[in-house]
Symmetry: C2
Subunit: 215 residues, 2 copies
């Protein structure tokens, strides 16, 4: 089965909730490293990758569409172009593997979906993308389940820690350092001086070697 993976990506000033520990240049490099991890998994699973970018961007192994409208409008524009099944996958879930994506595309339902933490949606696979519309922001998982019902789609919810782990906050970096063996994003963090640290209550967080800071 041939299909496209649609990956929204913000190349300029992304991941602002990480500003407390990464400056803009670093956040841009880190977001690209996570994107590489996602693209690698997508391509290994047999999909072609199309990046929906807010700004001009080049990538050797992916098509790029620059769209300046809000995220939902950009995705819905793209879905309207597709005559084959489509995967909408976020660029900030670097723990995803090709095998994980296979779990979605092998669904017997019309649609499969992976919730993100906190009510979000991290991946949607659609056999008939033109019938669907995306509604990200807020409790998008519930919104997407409702929209699927309105479309008359049968839905499989995929249970996965790796795919549900989107990286937004400092605490999320722990997951990459612990579970991200072999990932470009982990390499980036390690080369930038990040490591696991325990606070006085034994809770796990990250620390940064001050010699590696460019802030």
């Amino acid at each position: 089965m041939y299909f496209h993976a649609l990956i929204p990506f913000k190349p300029v000033n992304p991941k602002t909730r990480l500003s407390c520990i990464l400056n803009q240049e670093e956040r841009e490099a880190f977001a690209r490293a996570m994107l590489e991890d996602v693209i690698a998994a997508v391509q290994k699973s047999g999909c072609s990758a199309t990046l929906l970018c807010t700004h001009s961007f080049k990538h050797e192994n992916a098509l790029v569409a620059v769209r300046t409208e809000p995220l939902n409008d950009a995705i819905n524009w793209a879905l309207g172009q597709f005559h084959c099944p489509a995967l909408i996958i976020m660029g900030d879930i670097p723990l995803v593997t090709a095998g994980d994506i296979q779990r979605l595309i092998r669904t017997e339902k019309d649609m499969s979906i992976v919730p993100g933490r906190g009510g979000g949606t991290n991946i949607i696979f659609l056999k008939k993308p033109r019938c669907f519309r995306a509604d990200y922001y807020g409790a998008s998982f519930l919104d997407h389940m409702r929209i699927a019902e309105e479309c008359g789609f049968s839905v499989e919810v995929i249970d996965s820690f790796r795919m549900s782990t989107d990286i937004d906050e400092k605490e999320d970096l722990v997951e990459i350092l612990i579970h991200g063996k072999g990932r470009r994003s982990r390499e980036y963090l390690e080369n930038s001086g990040f490591s696991i640290a325990l606070d006085e209550k034994g809770r796990v967080g990250v620390q940064r070697d001050p010699h590696e800071e460019a802030l």
Copy 2:
């Protein structure tokens, strides 16, 4: 295959990180509701449940051992008693299902493990429990992987959002309200006036109807 599920449980003043929204009596009732969800999944999967309690506690459908030593010592004492495979499962992962537990106990490896968020360990299944020792607190997932290696165990890491979601903080309640259909813990939260709410940035959180507060 016959085996025991070992569930550590603190009946008195549990879940103190929820003190900002639940008083002690409420936290005790909520912890019991989550425990009921876990016990229901455990029993439906064909296991018997043994609670390792810090204080005196009674339960109709589970054996209770009151152990006043620290958590790791209590678990390691219990593992030493077992001559059959054992599951160590936390009482604060109410999204777990019987099918999820089956994924662990059907492993072909010597051990299967489910990481929790933030470096923790939420479930361990051990075919030879007497050889193992638990080391919770801190980055316990990495510690348990190391201990398994020292024991010469082959290990399967199970990828699951539901099982990796332990409920510690106010933000975690979102997961129960969104994904916890049919759970006792969700019923408790709803009856206590909790519902999903969006903040001004569109992020999902919980709110509580002030009429339902007993604080």
